[in-house]
Chain length 391, copies 2
């Protein structure tokens, strides 16, 4: 089967944005088409990844509205939702559209508008993905993160400061990302002394509430070469789930969805964790970066925390993680996050990441919904003729 | 490319159901797997088509919860939404999952739980798909239907009673559908004298508010033959859109999305409208049955109304339409409707439609979102070895 290429990508400024999700999506979509040099009427399928525009702003039917704004009518359009991993599910949907032959040019635009709602309102919308009984008893996603962090630290004899260093590293990376919500460094003391949210996790262990959008343009590799030399290929992709009720899992410090979606992606790409040069992981909470870095096989189980202590996951380390700043400093507009992760990896493998650039032939993006409930993992590499290979 | 088969299908009782959407989906999903004789752990991808569980019942993350209920974890799952055409978009997503090779067995379950909300609340959720300015000015979907019906009747010199006869026919068909919400005949006078909703359309020109679910199990045709002789093939499928703002269209009596999605489906299947033996059309409003029957090429533009006058679309006519009872009498649980349409066509082409059975080699299902905003059309035929071919 022919491989699926990414011939254009973009993201908007993440942060507090004074426009509805429709406007954010249009901004990223227009920008992506313009960068790729592809006319709107070449688009066959338009996918929108978005969790909750209906709940956040009372507007549904957003894909159709966006089709109007982008000028892609009469191309097919649909919305894909997988809660906080909606972006990754959108990548998988657009990949399938191209791989199945249904579309020659599939545009994916992910986005969410959240900051006009109070933190309580926004987290209430997100919490609606949990089991009603868990929710009623106050076991929301931050609580799960706190419980899991405590378990992890105890089980693997990891110091609390190791979690804090994830926040410090990702904030440092975010300084060099012009689209990040927070472009400021934080020191370890600030993180460790910030207000407790779910013990042992504190305010700086959590990603913010964010508005933003990101876009990708996909096509078969043979078509990509007609547009540009500088395209990336999604050489592997996979998705998997874990139980809806978190307490039904044997070990909360392992995420089965991450393990299995990673295995699928590695198998399709014909590579292993040792081949991955750069990764965007879903650091909605600092503890999640450790779990994913282990469950994807970068480190042995229980040793993810040692990697941050030894600066292995720093930008100049052996396995740079979240060079974009991650959800932690870049922000987490639910439907956009998984798309923006792939955007960062796309830039890294093409050598277009500017001050954030690391040496990367193969990159990986892992998008996690709920508390590991549903996961999509994608592996990217530069296309055959990419400029970087000719340098 | 190998064709995609349907090896199992089911639907729940449509109507007022005393359970949340999760329960409805589980009922249809279990039933579909049992009929197909396929174990839950054979499922690679689980798709849920649903417009608004978040808005209707405050529950999101439903695909993950359903995966738990059906026992399909750790298979991938996602939700697909295309407003009132979510079901058709789900069929297209599951088709792409199989056609792309991502899944060997893709289970699609569509559903919606609506009747616990008042009619005003439910229509407000649906109306959120329209343009905010249209909505503020009272131009909701029923208003569009009324304006379009008036235009159609004037332009093509059609009698008002022709619209009423659509309701009469579909209610007649629904009597023989054990899963239909309304299993009762209505006479023409009752329709024509029912309360005005959007002149010239009256109460009986509209579909009801409904709870329900429907499911389909898809796999490659080569795999289908391992499970059963009695499978159907989705020989053609296509999707298309029209403007978000309805008044931007040149002629409201033609639906571009229907025309183009139909053309795509015909082309893939290698058939034309003259080959279609039975069709499920999206009769959310009676006028829509005329428009689709013309835009799909069954009749010349402006002559759909003559077909009902001449009983051509009746069950014993040349082109039976909505043998299931249609949305009109079967009900319209948004995310389920497009799936249930394909279920009816599946039964018809396999000769399993019981008292509703017509002579059908090739069937078509057309699912319409908004007022023609986004449309999916699928064409089905019996698999090579189906029992009906051997009778």
């Amino acid at each position: 089967m022919e491989r699926v290429a990414v011939i254009g990508a973009s993201m908007t400024q993440f942060g507090n944005r004074d426009m509805w999700v429709r406007g954010l999506l249009a901004e990223a979509g227009h920008d992506c088409l313009e960068r790729a040099g592809v006319a709107p009427d070449a688009i066959d399928h338009l996918y929108v990844s978005n969790m909750a525009s209906g709940e956040f702003e009372g507007q549904t039917g957003v894909p159709n509205a966006l089709a109007n704004d982008l000028g892609t009518i009469s191309a097919y359009t649909a919305r894909v939702d997988q809660t906080s991993a909606s972006g990754g599910a959108g990548v998988y949907a657009a990949w399938q559209a191209v791989a199945s032959g249904a579309a020659d040019h599939a545009l994916l635009v992910g986005g969410e508008k959240m900051t006009h709602r109070s933190t309580t309102e926004a987290t209430d919308v997100i919490a609606s993905l949990t089991h009603p009984v868990e929710y009623k008893n106050g076991v929301t996603l931050p609580s799960f993160a706190g419980l899991t962090a405590r378990k992890y630290l105890e089980k693997y004899d990891a110091p609390r400061e190791s979690l804090g260093k994830v926040a410090v590293k990702n904030h440092r990376n975010g300084v060099d990302n012009p689209h990040a919500q927070f472009r400021k460094e934080v020191d370890l003391d600030t993180v460790l002394e910030s207000p407790i949210v779910a013990d042992p996790l504190r305010l700086y262990d959590f990603c913010p509430i964010t508005d933003g959008s990101a876009a990708l343009l996909l096509c078969p590799e043979s078509v990509a070469a007609e547009h540009t030399d500088d395209y990336a290929v999604i050489s592997g992709i996979g998705g998997a789930t874990d139980t809806h009720v978190v307490h039904e899992r044997t070990d909360p410090t392992t995420m089965r969805g991450v393990v299995e979606s990673g295995q699928e992606a590695y198998e399709m790409a014909g590579v292993g964790p040792e081949d991955v040069d750069v990764a965007e992981l879903h650091d909605m909470f600092t503890i999640l970066e450790f779990l994913q870095s282990e469950d994807l096989g970068f480190f042995q189980k229980g040793e993810g925390w040692k990697a941050i202590q030894n600066r292995v996951t720093a930008r100049d380390g052996a396995v740079p993680i979240n060079t974009s700043g991650g959800l932690k400093s870049k922000g987490h507009p639910l439907g956009a996050s998984g798309v923006a992760q792939v955007y960062e990896v796309y830039q890294q493998v093409l050598g277009e990441a500017g001050p954030r650039q690391v040496s990367a032939d193969i990159g990986l993006a892992c998008n996690v919904g709920g508390f590991g409930n549903c996961v999509t993992t994608a592996i990217l590499e530069a296309g055959r003729w990419a400029t970087r290979h000719r340098r």
